[in-house]
Symmetry: C3
Subunit: 512 residues, 3 copies
């Protein structure tokens, strides 16, 4: 039984390792593996990592990055291109995109750069690194709400207080619960897994390896691949949230299970809703015959029903070559409404940084507590209409104009009714605050930490959201009994009962 990692042999060091790895790398039969051209530096990486971390090396071997040179990628017709540059970055035109091409790029910008066997390597490859070949996608992603997911949660006092009330430890003493601020690891293990952590570099530490002692950066907020991660080069987000390293499979990015990592819970059940829709039904029964690799993606030929990517991201064409949808990593150019995460559904925010928003009551929220929109921070009706028309284009490849319009009218009706059911819940919790049986903003307390407040949160964060998603994607189960209207209506009755019970308790307390 061979052991392939973490056996410290302190006699081999520095140059010896480098040379050994390089030799191993240069003599490795890349051609036999259909790897066209590995740069000498990447060969060095592979020489050791082939045995140090064989899983990711084999994964990369199967990737397009390993099997196509940048020059070859550039020769494709525009519509088939996966890169958005017009000429190759210096020095990488004739090589595969290997370890070094990403992990040693712009070392000075990366605070996690360290000396590793003679190279300046950084651990975390960021959107900035990917922008060397994919600048358009990176720029688009910067305009995506997701790239700001860390700040939009963490730097908004209202949301930060929601995070605290979910992740903080609660003690029970003297007949009372008390809430402590959550520790950083708990936040990273909860909300920030998807929203992204702020990764910080705290010096270097030495560690024994199978090739002797080496120094590595000490990172906090790590591991993490959240969509709004604050990277050590100050860039935002992580392409590997969806384009999983190290094969970066477009098939994987295009399948809805990838989105489900962050869009499956009761707060954002997009995947679940999709899977009970007719489209999800077609996908789950017939996708074995589809082609998830083709660029561009031809509807009817490569796929029969939309996945998340079709409607929200991908470049889609007809079999006659007509463009149905242009690729976007901003996503919000197809989104007229913001359906989830906030108390009321509302027109999409103008800026992906939502911390700038203030409603009339002075709260950093896109609506008043009673639902009126903070319009100056949101897109107008004309822009909403434009985005809706863009979103509708793939629908119209199979459905009639009337079908599509009536579907979206129905959806907008659901936005209205779910907002109304949220307003009723808000009136109940507001009454609790006014009558003094719960403590809200006026009492300088969190609006998310008491039982009745948590029921109010579920009204919008779970049930109204679920009902809206169900309507948007016609996955109606989630608009009926599965966290949908049944719960909207039941929760409201329970809130009403709880308020009544609390008021009775208060009266009794006051009785002499």
């Amino acid at each position: 039984m061979k052991s392939y990692h973490r056996i410290p042999r302190r006699t081999k060091q520095g140059l010896v390792i480098t040379v050994t790895c390089l030799c191993l790398g240069l003599f490795w039969p890349w051609n036999a593996l259909a790897i066209p051209q590995v740069s000498p530096v990447s060969s060095g990486c592979l020489g050791c990592h082939n045995s140090a971390t064989p899983g990711i090396v084999l994964d990369w071997f199967k990737s397009r990055h390993a099997t196509v040179t940048v020059e070859e990628a550039l020769q494709k017709p525009v519509i088939e291109k996966r890169v958005s540059i017009t000429e190759a970055p210096r020095g990488v035109s004739q090589t595969a995109v290997g370890c070094a091409e990403c992990h040693t790029a712009s070392p000075e910008k990366h605070k996690d750069t360290f000396d590793h066997n003679g190279y300046r390597v950084h651990i975390i490859v960021t959107p900035e690194d990917c922008a060397a070949c994919h600048p358009v996608e990176t720029n688009q992603y910067d305009r995506n709400l997701m790239s700001h997911a860390y700040g939009n949660l963490n730097n908004n006092p209202v949301y930060h207080s929601l995070l605290d009330s979910v992740n903080g430890m609660q003690s029970f003493q003297n007949m009372k619960t008390a809430l402590k601020t959550p520790d950083a690891e708990t936040n990273a293990d909860s909300c920030l897994y998807c929203h992204g952590t702020a990764v910080k570099v705290n010096g270097l530490k030495k560690r024994g390896t199978s090739l002797g002692e080496m120094a590595f950066p000490v990172l906090s907020g790590w591991p993490n691949q959240g969509v709004g991660r604050i990277n050590p080069d100050s860039s935002l987000g992580s392409c590997t949230s969806c384009h999983t390293r190290h094969s970066f499979s477009i098939e994987m990015a295009r399948k809805p299970e990838t989105c489900s990592e962050c869009h499956k819970g009761p707060d954002v059940p997009a995947y679940n809703v999709y899977m009970v829709s007719k489209h999800g039904n077609i996908y789950s029964t017939l996708n074995g015959e589809w082609n998830f690799q083709a660029v561009p993606w031809t509807l009817g030929k490569d796929f029969k029903a939309p996945t998340c990517a079709v409607c929200h991201i991908s470049s889609v064409v007809t079999h006659a070559g007509a463009v149905v949808s242009e690729r976007t990593h901003a996503m919000n150019d197809r989104l007229s409404w913001r359906l989830f995460g906030l108390i009321y559904a509302h027109a999409h925010p103008l800026s992906p940084d939502t911390t700038i928003i203030k409603n009339k009551a002075g709260l950093p929220l896109p609506t008043e507590l009673t639902g009126e929109q903070a319009s100056e921070y949101l897109i107008d009706a004309k822009e909403q209409e434009k985005r809706l028309k863009t979103m509708e284009r793939p629908c119209l490849a199979c459905h009639s104009t009337d079908w599509v319009e009536q579907q979206f009218n129905r959806f907008e009706n659901t936005i209205k009714t779910t907002n109304e059911m949220t307003l009723s819940a808000t009136r109940i919790v507001s009454t609790a605050w006014e009558k003094g049986v719960a403590r809200g903003l006026a009492q300088n307390d969190s609006i998310f930490n008491e039982a009745i407040e948590k029921k109010w949160v579920e009204q919008w964060l779970f049930f109204a959201n679920s009902t809206r998603f169900a309507s948007a994607m016609i996955g109606t189960d989630y608009g009926a009994f599965a966290n949908g209207r049944w719960y909207l209506s039941k929760n409201l009755q329970e809130m009403s009962d709880l308020l009544e019970c609390k008021l009775q308790g208060m009266k009794k307390e006051k009785r002499p």
Copy 2:
């Protein structure tokens, strides 16, 4: 970038369009696509729709309807037949079943028929249309509870009140909630998605298209593909609920994900239960090797474990050619019990129209509120036994007679115990009504709109149902902690606490 839809060019009209489409259609290389014979009229449709709605055209190209003529379908041995006619309908024997064969059939019967470029076309293809080639299946389906799903919900005052209480808006004012009747779009976006809407035709309207202005029928209750849809030709249901247009793939219809569109929520978790059963486990790990296209369907060869279709619908044979199950679209010829949707499990109804049922208390329910069956409307024990024997036949292809009998005995025990746990919940809610802390039928109020009533509903609609499904299909998770016995027992304790709390509140109110 070409645009393929909704660009009004008002100069081309009427005859020009027809001729253009026809020419495009007649010169399209159908043979190269292995389309044997497209009728001239369908060629005309395809000529334009190939660019107007390319998704459904390509989908149809892959279908059996496109690749087999009716005559060829008729030549199969009986056991392999997918049509249930003995001779082809007039004029379609030598052609593929294309657009016109369905969308222009019997135009006078369809209220949604309209003039479309020289043809009398209707939008909604109904079971009546499908019956041209599949009359046996259509007749069977008419006896299926599902075909009556609209009326059974909407025309039953008790159920209608459940629908209202789920879908209606609730306001909160003066310390009270008030319920409004739901609007039609909300119902269509909720319960009626599965149950079906009543589709009505409200005249014509004109709309600009890429080929100029055209007139289209204005439909309400649309889009919808619910199993009990009331169609513009007065027929019931929609074959495309399961046989998704326009490829009508038998593979898709036979996979359980198709059933899951309507049988996944907490009220009817059949799919979820199946997926945690051993059978579901076999399906989900090994179905890549199965043949979902074969007719007849050979157990052990084409599939290894039952799916929903095997037990409930499909024609199944052994590798020696013995018939295990005959195809049924009535389904209830294999169903001895009605497990879900009602307060108590009970013998299956005699008629698929359940609005005719009345219990002794005069309510349109198949049992009393205390569980006794309204037997004259339900099948008797002998018919139950007969149906059970039919249902057991595929089981016996793998399991011993004892295994199967003990499994079904266990299941019938579970029907008994879950009914008993429902009865206890009914006693609690009845006490609440009697003591005046909730308002029921005697107070002329809905029995579904207060918090304690909603808990009672969950006892039977969610937890008892789930436990019974889990027992029937041996997906035990859903009979234990996943909406099963844990919740049956917990919910009862919470109802008891709530009743006590309400009674205390009432006493206090009365105190001077």
Copy 3:
């Protein structure tokens, strides 16, 4: 239409059947089916069962048991072996492993052995039978907690009382609920499906078959394939829980859906957590290209991301042949913590029989009600560290040492915080017991049967477990809103409210 079962023809009996079956069996074209060598006795079985139970016969035809002789299996290199013997059991070396090789082995040990057409056959094949060729795996499994799942639940008074409170019928009379002991079939239909039943043999009974009347053993606790089943030969467990009969597909055993049969509910959501993790995401989108049959299993080549089996059971190697993990059916040699099923997470028990554990308070629990570990029954920190290192080995094939260490540090922090949130809930329920508003051990009552107690159970059995699984496998959804920290925090507030409400009610009752 032929009928293939249960048609009693009482004229054919005994010897006639045997001879007929034997003839049918001996003339069946096994070679054409690539069955190398079926023993004469198994040929006899197949002769009749080919038509009596064709599903399992065809299933077996596709199995490795049918297509490889024991001698061939023995000739594989050690690393590729699927058997753990060095020489074949007497008489089966040149034959396939057919019906008789398992169902007639050691007839004297099996209480369910009966005379069947001239053979001494037993119904239930047990781990003892499998040990003829797989003794190492059987021995390992005996050390697995799962093999003791029946006794650990049923023979532990605390747990038995949980089972009773979940499965027992509750009546409601005179304003009070009363709990009855559950019947055996209900337990078998609930907890014992996974934990295993105690299968007992209660004589023989005669039954008509298609070949005339025959006698069969009467079994109680049957059907069942639970992991801790008490078999009629006194052995524990069932290999077919995961290695589903009769193809015993390694592909199936290695796919996470197999584990999901018992590890999907809210009490143990391991599968759900996996499926929202990055690893589960990779599995669900790309597993079509993997090889689930290979032994040994090469990471990066045969699979790209771990499944349940990779981390917990399988023999895993690198493409260079280095052993990453040795196969184990004990599983706990890789488990340092016991995460679920108990009130607090704690170091793994020393013995798989946990009924021997007693805490300081005298309860059969591995911790005090306040969380301190009953250390003498649990593994120590050194053993925990050793197991962690074993568990980490596959991680390190793709991830850096720092990545892995920080991930497991984060996980251990989550164990600490979830235990803390359970302690707060325990303090609330303890207060209820002390103040007399709920009845606990001091009142000689179950601690699981009242509403506030059930909320306490959910705190640890659902929400703390879910949060820990989510952290362990980085399926964070289940540590945030899907039964994770949101519910931990909300449930505590509801318990606190409920306690307050109960105390107010009590005060009022006492008031004159």
